[in-house]
Symmetry: C2
Subunit: 145 residues, 2 copies
């Protein structure tokens, strides 16, 4: 297995709502695609939203119930501590500003940002489905774009 | 917000076990770091494992209980349909081979791979914490490495 990740798919309850949220944050998307694949009780729908992230990475939004069908699993309960997505910025002020913007877009801020002993200043927000994003300033990390 | 993701952190129950699993799959890691940051009942431990993925993306393993403390949340129940990670390969045979390898490393295969109506041949495995990876062959997708 190569050290490669091509996509991150977030299980959501309401595609339109989640799409609107991420668009408000500034992420670019062509909107819902694959709408011609309707699915049924056992076959997943193909309707999905993609955001093209840097480095060719795809961030996808897909209903939890469809993900469950696609992977042949039961739908699990919402659970915020399964994973988090890390988003690095260049300054403390950018951490604060993005958390404010996320809140304005409808996110829940789980806590005010603070300094960790390992040298990172960060805070978390939750998207409309409770998925965690850590907005972080790490002085050791060079951000290229 | 730029279309950028710097890290994906997986909430795990047993750091050593999950680290061993991903190493068996071939992902490179320096092992547990940040072990000097012990944490306590309310402050998260800094012990974490990183895998350096292509494009500067970090895949991290971090205990669910510590992620909960770091984000000021209660620990949620394990839930497999919160997200999935997509890993693209070049052929059908590679899909089958990687799923076999994942199974040998201790993964659960939720279903045999099959052809989706939207032109992707894929199957899913679950890591030791139930996190979903979709191994997929998409003839439309160019894989550069």
């Amino acid at each position: 297995m190569k050290p490669r990740i091509n996509a991150i798919t977030l299980g959501v309850n309401d595609l339109e709502k989640s799409l609107a949220f991420y668009r408000k944050l500034g992420l670019p998307s062509k909107g819902l695609i694959g709408t011609e694949f309707k699915g049924d009780k056992t076959h997943p729908s193909g309707t999905i939203a993609f955001f093209e992230m840097q480095g060719g990475l795809i961030l996808a939004l897909y209903p939890r119930v469809e993900l469950a069908k696609d992977a042949h699993l039961h739908v699990g309960p919402p659970s915020a501590t399964e994973f988090s997505i890390g988003y690095a910025v260049r300054t403390r002020e950018e951490v604060d500003a993005l958390l404010k913007r996320a809140k304005a877009a409808g996110a829940i801020i789980t806590e005010k940002p603070y300094d960790r002993p390992w040298g990172i200043y960060s805070g978390y927000f939750q998207d409309p489905d409770g998925h965690l994003w850590e907005v972080m300033w790490n002085p050791q990390l060079e951000i290229k774009d």
